[in-house]
């Protein structure tokens, strides 16, 4: 059983220092790498109502944990200026947003379109799956690592994925391990 949150749950979370207990920023957005299948960094807003953007970013390796209620960093040195961050975090290439991409199985069946990424609580950006708008008009959750190929508009996933579409995050949390076992991935 794993605890999961969606990208939209993470946006707006406070960034809190472990050594000081201070809320030094809040999450503006996730920088997701479809190739890596994980969140590689987070962009930041200043803390407070209408406070605006912060220049610094949080590369995944500087994140202690993404939680349900806060993103934890050791101290303020985790806040990294774009020039000092890995290039794909400091200046992410455009067009890598998977939101809106169609999810196709290897057999050519459309499972729906990606709405959001689903992140493992307590990790520094490990993505457990995607939230999708299903072809029947509902919301579903599919586990990762599942994609075989990714283009700017489409993800191709193993055929088995269609048996693991879940209605909620709790269901996905339970399914991730089963699904990975089935694909032979630990």
């Amino acid at each position: 059983m794993r605890l999961l949150v969606t990208g939209s749950d993470i946006r707006g979370l406070p960034v809190v220092t472990i050594d000081g207990g201070e809320d030094v920023a809040e999450i503006r957005d996730l920088i997701y790498s479809p190739e890596a299948g994980r969140v590689i960094g987070l962009t930041l807003n200043k803390r407070g109502f209408l406070a605006g953007r912060r220049r610094e970013v949080l590369p995944a390796e500087t994140i202690h944990a993404i939680g349900a209620d806060a993103v934890m960093i050791d101290d303020e040195s985790s806040l990294t200026l774009p020039d000092d961050a890995p290039a794909d975090v400091g200046a992410p290439p455009s067009g890598r947003d998977v939101t809106g991409d169609e999810v196709l199985t290897e057999g050519g069946m459309s499972l729906g379109h990606v709405k959001d990424v689903v992140v493992l609580v307590g990790s520094n950006g490990e993505v457990a799956g995607y939230e999708i708008a299903t072809t029947s008009g509902g919301t579903g959750y599919i586990p990762l690592p599942a994609q075989l190929a990714v283009s700017g508009t489409t993800l191709v996933v193993p055929e088995a994925t269609k048996d693991f579409i879940k209605n909620d995050l709790v269901g996905l949390g339970a399914a991730v391990d089963d699904f990975r076992a089935k694909l032979g991935i630990s």
């Binding site: 809190v16 050594d19 207990g21 809320d23 944990a65 209620d69």
Partner: protein, 148 residues
């Protein structure tokens, strides 16, 4: 013996040299890095005064004894003013695990009345040893998540 803040709050603070009551204990300030009681707040509002742990002759079950009435002092800087106002108490603070989950608030603290050493943090539904306290600030106290 251990002392709980919830039981000690409101206890009279008495001068050892004059036997006069100086006020009531209202807040306790903990030095988070040392996990040690650092200051006591005596009285409230604008009349609140501070008392360093080192200036106690005893933290007893019936009274907190100050070595002298001169040991009490008014807040001298921003942190001490916040302390006197009860704004940096651990008790009442939001608690976050280092995994980023809200586990709070801290409802009480337990300390050793002989040494002032912080022993236990009392949360809503469980307790954590003081050694789990990683940091505390204006937003939250951060507590090491139990190993799974």
């Amino acid at each position: 013996m251990s002392e709980r803040f919830a039981e000690a709050a409101g206890r009279k603070v008495v001068s050892r040299t004059t036997a006069e009551e100086l006020g009531k204990l209202t807040h306790i300030v903990v030095d988070v890095k040392r996990r040690q009681v650092e200051l006591l707040v005596v009285g409230k509002g604008r009349k609140a005064l501070l008392l360093a742990w080192e200036d106690l002759s005893g933290f007893g079950p019936d009274a907190v004894m100050a070595s002298s009435e001169n040991a009490l002092f008014a807040a001298r800087d921003e942190r001490e003013r916040a302390a006197a106002d009860g704004k940096i108490d651990l008790v009442g603070r939001r608690a976050l695990s280092d995994m980023g989950n809200d586990i709070g608030p801290i409802t009480d603290i337990v300390f050793d009345p002989d040494t002032g050493a912080l022993e236990t943090l009392v949360l809503d539904d469980h307790e954590e040893p003081a050694t789990s306290l990683l940091g505390a600030g204006s937003y939250a106290a951060v507590i090491r998540a139990p190993a799974k």
